[in-house]
């Protein structure tokens, strides 16, 4: 008993002890790294690893936010469109005014969409899937309207350099986006495991009616969840735009949304809500990032890569459900 007390009970032990759900993606990650190291001489280099981390930083941020929506038993489909909207608004305002104003306006636009999500889901009680499907279209449309459908580039100096610093700069040896992602994930980890709000997220995902009957304000929890999810998307959009030093109306229109949801699921967070955590999501992002990188190095076609990512998403959920059935 004494040993269990001291060994078993550090806090992260409480919400995310070494849980069987994480074994699958961990094994996959290790197996991939070993395989790619053997097949490609370039894979296991410091340069490549730095590259993978820099490229996956926006996805880490998006997926960390998405984790809240899935933990609640919901989904945030508007993340990709928020990335696009933040991109063009930020670049557009920098063009006419200043980087500070650009950042405020861009991130503000992203938070605006998130607030709409939150209010419709938390107050009007509409299904998250439907609300965020709607705002997916709306934000994507707004991005096109604002930019007139074309990229915004040729930003003034020195704003251009500041902007790039966020997406591609360094603090000492550490790339800025990686640093920001790491700090954000640490903060989210603390929120989920050590705050009342975090516990309420798990409770709402576990059982809404029990949460209400225990005095939890359902509406407030849901609004905050979608503010965080959308806020993360806004931040990711800002960093991604900085990296390309421009406003791109289709920046978030591609794979990134589905990768964000996929990473959370591959990491082992339950799509039914109530079980999972942000560290699992980090694992999920790494699986996707290293796989894409490794397949690129082996010169495997991007379309084939899509097939493989899809298969891994299904496989990871399947493995977990098999384990649950056996228990």
């Amino acid at each position: 008993m004494k040993g269990a007390e001291t060994g078993g009970w550090r806090w992260h032990a409480l919400v995310e002890r070494i849980e069987p759900e994480t074994i699958g993606p961990s094994v996959a990650l290790v197996a991939m790294i070993v395989t790619f190291s053997i097949l490609s001489p370039y894979f296991l280099t410091r340069n490549n690893f730095t590259n993978v981390l820099v490229q996956s930083a926006p996805l880490l941020i998006l997926a960390a936010g998405q984790t809240f929506a899935l933990l609640m038993g919901g989904l945030d489909l508007s993340q990709g469109s928020i990335v696009s909207l933040v991109s063009v608004v930020t670049a557009g305002v920098i063009m006419r005014h200043h980087i500070v104003l650009g950042a405020l306006a861009g991130l503000g636009a992203g938070f605006g969409i998130s607030l709409v999500n939150g209010l419709l889901i938390g107050r009007a009680r509409i299904q998250p899937f439907i609300v965020t499907l709607g705002t997916l279209y709306m934000a994507a449309g707004l991005a096109m309207v604002y930019s007139g459908g074309s990229s915004i580039f040729g930003l003034p100096k020195p704003d251009e350099d500041y902007f790039f610093w966020f997406g591609g700069g360094f603090v000492g040896p550490i790339p800025v986006p990686v640093l920001i992602a790491a700090l954000l994930i640490a903060a989210i980890y603390v929120v989920l495991t050590r705050t009342r709000f975090g516990r309420h997220v798990y409770a709402v995902g576990g059982s809404e009616s029990v949460a209400v009957m225990s005095g939890i304000e359902l509406g407030r929890v849901k609004i905050l969840i979608y503010l965080i999810s959308g806020g993360c998307a806004a931040l990711a959009g800002f960093l991604m735009s900085g990296r390309v030093i421009s406003g791109q109306p289709l920046l978030g229109a591609g794979d990134i949304l589905l990768q964000s949801i996929g990473a959370v699921i591959i990491g082992g967070t339950s799509v039914f809500g109530g079980q999972g955590g942000v560290l699992r999501t980090v694992l999920g992002v790494l699986v996707i990032a290293f796989m894409v990188n490794g397949l690129n190095l082996l010169a495997i076609d991007t379309f084939v890569q899509q097939v493989i990512v899809g298969a891994i998403i299904i496989l990871s959920v399947w493995v977990n459900s098999l384990r649950r059935r056996r228990a």
Partner: protein
């Protein structure tokens, strides 16, 4: 009491329809069944008794094909069978009615009755006329008065149970298992059910009847098997048992004499909760009552009498249409349970798994769910203190769990109920609303819960209990209010009260 007398063959050699030998099932850290033997005869009603966690549910779920045993054999009509899934079990004529309802809420009664074995036209479309005709026939045979087109979610808990039974009987069952079948039925519905069970037994069906209510056994059952800690402690003809030695078999010890003296010892304090002409359309009407500190007031009546709805209204989960609620003399307007909790009200809901505990959350998080604020320092939860508190509550209420990290849904029913109590005892609640607090709970745990409830009153809290269990009503209540069809029809001081008066008020609305 461990020397289990072997069952002597009585009269004609009985035909064994279901035989279980050496069954073993373990979960991580728990042995649920160990070397279990059990047999069921054709045409008998066989009661399965045991405390929460004794292994009854596990046994049933293995026989139903839901779980697989680690070791042991199951024979049907003398042939060994492999019950690998529920379809296999059903095909062998094993039909189960679970405690947690297995109906699809948004489908109609008829659709539920024939779910998975729909009648189809030659074109492969559902034959609705035949479906409803068969459904009506089935319900009529069981004297159940429910429209076949009614959507299940619109039915009361009692009505749902009847539909569930009808569904199980729709399959040609040779072994019928009923898990705590009368928990939410009114007395009339229970009589209907019993008549039905007798008829089925006469037609040769072997029936396993799982129950906690000992008084039900005698009139219905032929034999009784008692489980304790995953083992059988013996099978007996029902006439060799009386209530006292059944309790001793279940708990492994003599039940303590009932604490009747504690009632007189308490004094009634200030009024804490007052209801004035409280009404809600088609649920309850003109309810006025006063609940005092140090008092246990019991509200009794048939299922569907509006009692659960009344408690949920007091708790802010429903809005009253008219009338007033006063807490501590001040008028209270609750727009959510959160407001009610802040005013010191706690509700132990009837639907334990749906409203009481979050089944996938760990035990410790359920304990602290309504009182997290007291473990926060500088915005952060203090895990050490939270866990310390949870452990204290677990040992105070003797909640049986391998660890505080165990998912709450894996606990047995009685321990889940204690967990809900632990959640509210962690808050600063002064008014406790208990809705059917011991429904589906074994006698041993029942006594513990009664002791806790009396302890609350003795500590100056006000307790309002809703119960349909007459024995419980008489055991707990200082005062008893009878409700019929949403109205108060009588109030009784529980002082040498004649139970027939109470039953009369509940069923016929005649006040004393």
């Amino acid at each position: 009491m461990t020397s289990a007398a072997p069952m002597p063959p009585s009269g004609a050699p009985a035909e064994v329809v279901l035989e279980v030998r050496g069954l073993r099932k373990t979960y991580p850290g728990v042995v649920a069944l160990d070397q279990l033997d059990f047999d069921l005869h054709r045409g008998e009603v066989h009661a399965l008794l045991g405390a929460n966690g004794a292994g009854k549910s596990t046994l049933i779920k293995i026989v139903a094909g839901l779980y697989r045993a680690d070791a042991g054999e199951i024979h049907i009509d003398g042939r060994p069978v492999d019950l690998r899934d529920t379809q296999t079990a059903q095909a062998l004529g094993i039909s189960v009615i679970y405690q947690d309802f297995a109906l699809v809420p948004h489908l109609s009664v008829a659709e539920n009755l024939f779910l998975g074995r729909e009648f189809v036209t030659p074109l492969g479309l559902i034959d609705w006329r035949r479906t409803h005709a068969e459904a009506r026939r089935l319900l009529a045979r069981l004297n159940i008065d429910i429209q076949t087109t009614a959507v299940v979610s619109s039915l009361s808990m009692g009505q749902r149970q009847l539909v569930e039974i009808a569904k199980a009987l729709g399959i040609d069952a040779r072994v019928l298992i009923l898990d705590e079948p009368t928990a939410s039925l009114s007395r009339g519905e229970v009589d209907t059910l019993f008549a039905l069970i007798r008829k089925l037994a006469q037609s040769g069906v072997g029936i396993i009847y799982v129950s906690h209510r000992l008084e039900e056994i005698a009139s219905l059952v032929n034999r009784v098997t008692v489980l304790r800690d995953g083992r059988s402690v013996g099978t007996y003809p029902v006439d060799q048992l009386d209530r006292r030695n059944v309790v001793a078999l279940i708990t492994g010890q003599e039940r303590r004499s009932q604490e009747t003296s504690s009632r007189e010892a308490r004094t009634r304090g200030q009024p804490l909760l007052e209801l004035r002409h409280l009404s809600r359309a088609r649920e309850f009407e003109d309810i006025s009552l006063t609940l005092h500190r140090g008092e246990i007031l019991v509200l009794t009546g048939l299922v569907g009498a509006g009692r659960t709805e009344l408690l949920e209204t007091i708790f802010g989960a429903r809005r009253a249409a008219g009338g007033e609620i006063r807490v501590g003399g001040q008028p209270a307007k609750f727009s959510s349970p959160r407001d009610a909790i802040r005013s010191g009200i706690a509700l132990l809901p009837e639907d334990r798994r749906g409203h009481g505990i979050a089944v996938i959350m760990p035990v410790f998080a359920n304990v602290t769910l309504a009182s997290l604020v007291q473990f926060v320092r500088l915005l952060l939860l203090q895990p050490k203190r939270e866990l310390q508190h949870a452990r204290r509550m677990i040992s105070y209420l003797s909640i049986r769990t391998p660890s505080p990290f165990q998912a709450a849904g894996l606990l047995s029913g009685g321990n889940q109920q204690k967990l809900v109590l632990a959640k509210w005892l962690s808050t600063s609640a002064e008014i406790f609303l208990l809705d059917e607090p011991t429904q589906g709970i074994d006698v041993g745990t029942k006594d513990e819960i009664y002791r806790l409830v009396r302890g609350l009153a003795a500590a100056g809290k006000a307790v309002l209990v809703v119960s349909s269990d007459l024995e419980e009503v008489l055991e707990l209540g200082d005062r008893i209010i009878a409700v019929r069809q949403g109205r108060i029809v009588g109030e009784f001081a529980n002082n040498a009260l004649d139970p027939t008066l109470l039953v009369d008020a509940i069923t016929h609305g005649r006040a004393a």
